[in-house]
Amino acid sequence: MSRILQYAALLAYLVFLGFPLVWLLSTALKTPQEMAALDPSWIPREPTTANFAAAFGEQDLIGAGLRSLVVALASALLTVAVALPAAYALARYRGVLKRITLGWVLVSQVFPFISIIIPLFLVMRELGLVNTLAGLVLVHVTFTLPFALWMLQGYVRSVPRELEEAAAVDGAGRMRAIVKVVAPLLAPGVVATLLFSFISSWNEFLFALVVLKDPDVMTLPLTLVRFTGPEGVARLGPLAAASLMATIPSLVFFAIIQRRLRSGLMAGAVKG
């Protein structure tokens, strides 16, 4: 009985998650007339690809998508590359520095983006990074880093210290213990952090708006917003079509990487 309830709850959750995506697909295939029907239907009565044609014809979605992909991948990799060693150090070493660092990470989350955007822009300009994707990557890494660090140090802490000690007893040096024992166990944490950083960067709008000026370097969110007008009025059809396309790369990225996203690898590693 409880099993049935569990499945029912799971199904309800799936519907909850899937609804916006299905509705997006349905809207993308509707004509303007059908979008304004009083009784909207799930399945378009006269499906049309005109919205996709408009979306791709009017905006450089593919170019913008490729640029977004480069930025998101680079941001994700760079974030993990910087956060991983730092997270290990934070989780394993005690001391004043650790407390200060963790405190600082938390404090850094307090400032609203909008209040630091002008100083940030000035710094970027001094560095000659305005209007470059490298500049945007740097900003994205800076802003995902604190949370990524926090996330990863939680994972590192969950790897029992005893495993490293056991490796040491067997003659492994610190580096070897980390590479051979800890690193494989951290894979799910690394994957989760990669996903988090990728999606944050893929969706990010405000910094991209400020950093990228030239139409030739704009990312996907900046391109999608061009289908909207003032006061929430939008060209719903092309916007839905373009947004649907924009969700695909992150779905693919997730599909590729999610197999590594399992926990429980360490179950029974240490007798409690």
Partner: protein, 434 residues
Amino acid sequence: MRITSALAAVAVLALVTACGGGDTGEPPGGPGEPVKLDFLSLAWQKESVAANKAIVEEWNKANPHIQVTYVQGSWDNVNDQLVTSFEGGDAPDVFHDDSPALAGFAAKGYLLDLEGKLPAALRNDIPQAAWDTVTFDDGNGGQGVFGVPFLQESQVIIANKKLLDEAGVRIPTPAEPWTWDEFAEASRKLTKGDTYGVAWPMKSPVNKVLNLALNFGGTFFQTAGGRTTVKVGPEEKEVLRRIHDQLHKDRTADPAALGMGTADPLPGFFAGKHAMLPAGVYLRQQVAEQAPDDFAWVTLPPLKGTTSHQGAVSQTLSVSADSEHQEQAVAFVSFFLNGRNQARLAKGDWLLPTSREAAADPSINGEEDGWDVATASAKDLVVAPFLKVNGYDEWKSKVATPVLQEFFANKISLDEAARRLVDEGDKVLERYQR
């Protein structure tokens, strides 16, 4: 591990830099090299974007020494984008915005004062009422003209033709518009069965109500001795009371539409649930695009109270004060907004041009899609009284929006609404006048 990570970081950064591509600034403008201008446009409708691009292309072809780059922005974020660009010294040379945003930018010295810099033909082609929407304090005690106003919006009524004919009401014309009384009467005749005479979408009620209040001389603000205060007297209450009556006394306005944004009642309008929809002229575009094939609709001219005056703001083009090529930027703006081009832009955005020459253009005076009625309504537009009120935005979001929403939902009386608009409003305004 740490060394590997560091190497990986360097490698990724190198990769990103290689892919980054974009250059960081203008090429050095040596002799013979064309001047480059960035033009941030907010056009978003398909036809309007096409018109913008076409005009820029014509300019670039005719002016090989002044090349303009068209950059498409978005209304939702343009002011955040501009503030950072101004502060960072990297603003577009020419940008599209609306007049309420310009007041703040002008006071901070971000904008070039265009007074005396525009060709007489353009200056004279646009009426003073429109120039008033872009004339602001320059932050140093003087006044300046900080943009060229080019598109304006009036409030018209979009109506279901079949229902109007069936109800046998007189169809108003620009020469003989409906009075508010006639409008109320027509709404009563049109309300039957499941059909409401009118839908008032009031998700953002403030600008709409304030612009319409001028029909009875309601200005909502008064300035005496250099101090601006909120005023809600009999003139201001008139439009408020009439809309409220339609909702709760006559019951000719659909209460379900109250929480809606401007375009949200369209499905109900097409389905015959609402016979009339008061809206900005631009909504005709969505009606034309989304209406079922057999749906007949008409555009009715603005209502008349003691006058037909409506408050208006303008869409504008401005030149950044720190543009390195101000003269060329002004020349481009003057070309972009000449009469012929304004007619194309107005048609693309389904709005009204400020240019008199454009207003006479046959392309925006036909009967189809209500262009004749829409274009004729431009003559009643005067500068919105709230445009030059410091602190208006805060009054609007913190005081007026909730108060008007509660009033239209019949949760508070007209007197209570008026009292709160004034008392709470004056407190807000006072902070801006210290």
